[in-house]
Symmetry: C2
DNA sequence: CTGAAAGCGCTAACAG
DNA sequence: CTGTTAGCGCTTTCAG
């Protein structure tokens, strides 16, 4: 691997000049040309590790998500990666599985690796600790979920509004005993979507104890949705519709319904977050669409601004959801 | 950020000793303890960038995939990440969009960033050029797709066997005029799956011209599957089943069938590659499951061995597919 | 077993 | 505009 000195020697200039050519310093056109030619001949490209050590900042950012197999986070990751690429940044992918310990490990690596910054969908609203990074001056952007006490920029979705929208839609379509399968108790997204659901139910005059009895916490995976749905169906007075706060959990819930011989829209099903194959599921699913890709790209842009030294006060960008009504919530009595 | 010298000073030893403590060199227990305590007090963790520069090898590997939003690659990425984590490696995620230029850019970054190694699902069998990395001694593992001329380790799927399995299954279920929609003519995955289909048909005594008449090439997208299926249905003697060599194309094919008022399993449908929601499609789809996660973890382990200096000759690991029989291939006569 | 010293490749003052 | 110089933080001979 050719170094900057090799190029300097070949071009008959000093290493500093070579560096300047590659970093936009003032160099006469003629010399610059000679350097570029020498570099090309030697197949030289600047060693980023050495540069990082010298400048004390890297061109790598960390992205911590619970699980990239979740289509929502895959799309978010894609948004981050595309935006980062435009800025010349590389993205290190870290799956935390919503495990605070695992997350802590990755945050430590981000520090040790001197990453330029970190975008994190926090594993826990209360236990995720970003203070070490903030204290060291490393820019952090919270995405999707915002850890409670963190002094960081954030890009989130209006989950409460989305949950309320979803529930109101189900009510309007005539469902009465509407259940909710939300995510882990710690996560802010779970809580907010649940809060939206609760608010809408309360507005509709549903007694709080019924609402509570019809609420389950899952794990943002198909498995959790399946278990939760089975529990709900086993209730003395089972629900007639369900608002599932995550697309993967919806898959599990649908499976449980099918096993029980129950079909939408007789039983209403509304998913928070797109199913990639929504059009193939029968009947087509009503969903609350999340701007997952934009969430990622916005976060990366916010981080980029911070890296560029934007002195703005901390900001939180909130993106809106869009309700996509389809047949799975057509109404409690099968139309026909 | 505390440095190794800070710790050395605090512990009253030399930087070299601190380094030894953190890298398993021989140090007396008493001194080691003092160093560890000082390190803990200062919140010290070794600067990986400096270490990389010094040792000339990083603890970061690159992962190049076409698109992490494709569930197959998301799962593969997860497999890589999990295995890398166990080895103390971090993964940089790169989406190439099957664009050779983009891929080239990322390979250059891998070089400049002095990454420890690279795992790549090549954008092109013929145009992907891994030689620069190989020449510089950077370990490379090809995954899923193997660029033709590359001297690298590889982990692939036994596509031919999978295609044969699929076709035999359809034959056993009583379908007779089995069609095949495979991918682009250039891709090795397309060709291999098609070869498996042909072999099975030949073994079953089907005349070659029928097999050929019932074969179509698509583009690995829903659109291509849709077009191909329509053509097949328009044949003088249309098929009674189809083996679709890609999950997205299956989506298109199913849509075409639905438009024609045809339903599985009267018309058999078998998809190569999981649809994440396979069990939700009505009727549930029979699929040839690809070991996407294992593909990733195996690749990462192979890379780990290379990094550890395994002097073995280059190897190619071939993983088997698993046929998951469901209702969409229950048999040519609608049961019931 | 331990410390001193010499860089890994690059950039950022500082003179010239 | 250009070259010289001095490290960034760490590991690794080489003496002791």
């Amino acid at each position: 691997m050719a170094t900057i000195s090799d190029v300097a020697r070949a071009a008959g200039v000093s290493p500093a000049t070579v560096s300047r050519v590659f970093n936009g310093g003032r160099v006469t056109a003629e010399r610059a040309e000679r350097v570029r030619k020498a570099a090309a001949d030697l197949g030289f490209s600047p060693n980023r590790v050495a540069r990082s050590l010298r400048t004390q900042r890297a061109s790598v950012i960390g992205l911590l998500v619970p699980d990239v197999e979740n289509p929502f986070f895959a799309s978010l990751a894609r948004g981050v990666e595309d935006a980062a690429r435009r800025t010349g940044l590389s993205v290190v992918l870290c799956n935390t599985d919503d495990d605070v310990e695992k997350e802590r490990g990755y945050l430590g690596i981000a520090l040790a690796e001197q990453m330029a910054g970190v975008i994190v969908a926090a594993a826990s609203r209360t236990h995720t600790d970003l203070s070490a990074l903030v204290a060291r001056g490393m820019p952090v952007v919270a995405v999707d979920r915002r850890p409670r006490a963190a002094e960081v920029d954030a890009v989130t979705v209006d989950n409460q509004h989305g949950g309320e929208d979803a529930t109101v839609h189900l009510l309007e379509r005539g469902y009465r005993r509407i259940a909710c399968i939300t995510g882990p108790a710690g996560a802010s997204t779970s809580e907010d979507r649940l809060a939206g659901y609760r608010a809408a139910m309360r507005d509709a005059g549903t007694p709080d104890e019924q609402t509570r009895a019809c609420t389950r916490h899952g794990d943002f995976r198909a498995e959790g949705g399946h278990t939760a749905m089975r529990e709900l169906l086993a209730l003395p007075t089972p629900p007639d519709a369900v608002f599932v706060a995550d697309s993967l959990m919806t898959v599990g819930a649908l499976q449980a319904l099918r096993e029980a011989g129950i079909e939408p829209p007789g039983f209403g099903v509304l998913s928070f977050g797109d199913l990639p194959w929504a059009s193939l599921v029968r009947p087509p699913l009503t969903t609350v669409e999340l701007p997952s890709y934009d969430l990622g790209s916005s976060a990366a842009e916010l981080l980029r601004d911070r890296l560029a030294g934007s002195g703005k006060p901390l900001q939180t960008v909130v993106l809106r959801t869009v309700l996509q009504a389809r047949e799975s919530t057509a109404g409690p009595v099968p139309s026909g």
